[in-house]
């Protein structure tokens, strides 16, 4: 009930801001300088939140971006639609749903039935603190932003089955982004304090650890043209869950990475395609004998496709 009221309040705030947007939209930022949308909804690369504020509005306006992300992996499919509002190139508010569909029938113990979709909501806020990634070409100072992502899982049974401590939690991060125009490069480093297991899809905290740990994330992109950038990202993750703590055997959590290409058709539309590797997510080789089919634990890798529309 409280969750529904929170969601409703969030939606009304978004709608109110959207109603104001037409009066304040000039799409004044240079192409590609709002970044794209990462899997948890924040502006950045595909995996990592950056210090850039989503959208094309400058400090004079409010802009909205919506995105749709589809990531077919070996045993799972991630679908992550979301929306972000960029206010005055200073504050970013975002919402994303992480819908993690289970395609493999060998994960049934603990509730991971084939055909089930795990669902996590992520509410994000990001504040640009200092610096401008594009204008500060004559200084070493990057654009720095701090952010938080509140995540809550709808799958309390799975969270319990894997031995996680909480079904919801908040990540805190600080990101530093710099555009080196002399080299047509964008560089980003993010440090995130988190307890999330597999981005939060398997709850927060666990037998190995239930306190905040810093994780390191980095992105590098090369701008080939005004419209086209390629790059790579890397994200380290905690390892809070232990293999035998829950009903479902859990593989140690791996780091995630991707290599991407982003195409900015116009200031209204961008497309990102990537190859992503999220490491092992559940260790199918230890599934009960009755349904074990001699599979090796799979690395969850595959394509990443994202469409972003900005207004």
């Amino acid at each position: 009930m409280a969750q529904n009221i929170l969601t409703m309040a969030g939606c009304l705030t978004l709608l109110a801001t959207l109603a104001m947007a037409p009066a304040m939209a000039d799409e004044g930022k240079l192409l590609a300088t709002g970044g794209v949308s990462q899997v948890e909804g924040a502006g950045g690369g595909g995996l990592v939140p950056w210090a850039l504020i989503s959208g094309y509005e400058t400090d004079d306006g409010i802009g909205v971006t919506v995105h749709e992300t589809y990531v077919p992996l070996n045993d799972f499919t991630l679908h992550a639609p979301g929306i972000a509002i960029g206010l005055y190139d200073r504050l970013e508010l975002s919402y994303a749903a992480d819908l993690f569909g289970i395609d493999n029938q060998n994960l049934s113990p603990g509730g991971l039935d084939k055909g089930r979709t795990l669902h996590q909501d992520v509410f994000g806020a990001k504040l640009r603190v200092i610096g401008d990634a594009v204008y500060d070409q004559d200084s070493w100072l990057p654009q720095i932003a701090i952010g938080a992502q509140y995540k809550r899982s709808y799958d309390k049974d799975v969270v319990a089955a894997v031995g996680a401590r909480h079904a919801d939690g908040t990540d805190f991060y600080i990101a530093a982004t710099k555009v080196l125009l002399d080299y047509s490069l964008l560089v980003n480093t993010t440090v995130r304090l988190t307890k999330a297991n597999q981005f939060g899809l398997l709850g927060f905290g666990g037998p190995n650890n239930d306190s905040y740990q810093p994780e390191f994330e980095g992105s590098l992109a090369y701008l080939f043209s005004k419209r086209f950038a390629v790059g790579a990202e890397y994200r380290t993750k905690p390892n809070n869950l232990s293999k035998f703590a829950g009903v479902l055997p859990i593989a140690p959590e791996d780091n995630a990475y991707d290599v991407f290409a982003a195409y900015f058709l116009t200031k209204n539309i961008s497309l990102t395609a990537a190859y992503v590797d999220l490491g092992k997510i559940a260790d199918v080789s230890l599934a009960p004998l009755g349904i074990y089919r001699g599979l090796e634990p799979h690395t969850q890798n595959g394509a990443y496709l994202s469409l972003q529309l900005s207004y």
């Binding site: 930022k29 240079l30 004559d138």
Partner: protein, 164 residues
């Protein structure tokens, strides 16, 4: 806009402190390495490599003429140039781009903040000007990486030019 204002605006489109002395193919003593940080408020090129990459004076003159054409017709920023002598502005910009990129010649301009004071220029206006410059360079076959090197030298002017 009066001729007096024209001079100030045109001169102010690129910032140069009075007396900035850019030598030709030698190292610029004001260059400090890394991001070409310069506490005189300008970012001069350390040598003439960008000038040569832009195609020298002729090519710079060509894209600058196209650039001025675009900004005069621009539906967002054209208003700042109403009444401004176009030929004079073009000639001054050419000289400024040549010097900024490390080419031969010297230009002495006025302080950026002073010349743009009162114009209420916003970030989107500043960016629109940069986009027009990119378009002009595209049309004159300047490679994107080279375009970025020129834009890098102009970017820090945002601080003084944008007052809104």
């Amino acid at each position: 806009m009066s001729n007096h204002r024209l001079c100030l605006l045109a001169a102010g489109l690129l910032a140069f402190s009075a007396g900035a002395d850019v030598t030709r193919a030698e190292e610029n003593p004001l260059y400090k390495g890394g991001f070409q940080y310069n506490d005189a408020g300008t970012t001069p090129a350390k040598d003439d490599s960008l000038y040569r990459a832009l195609g020298g004076s002729e090519k710079i003159a060509a894209f600058t003429r196209d650039f001025v054409g675009l900004i005069y017709q621009d539906d967002q920023i054209g208003k700042y140039f109403v009444g401004v002598d176009r030929d004079h502005l073009t000639a001054m910009l050419i000289a400024q781009f040549i010097e900024l990129s490390g080419g031969p010649g010297r230009y002495q301009g006025r302080d950026m903040a002073e010349t743009h004071k009162g114009l209420n220029i916003g970030n989107s206006d500043f960016n629109r000007l940069a986009e027009d410059l990119q378009t002009a360079m595209d049309r004159n076959d300047v490679g994107f990486a080279t375009q970025n090197r020129l834009v890098a030298l102009l970017a820090s002017m945002q601080r003084a030019v944008v007052t809104r």
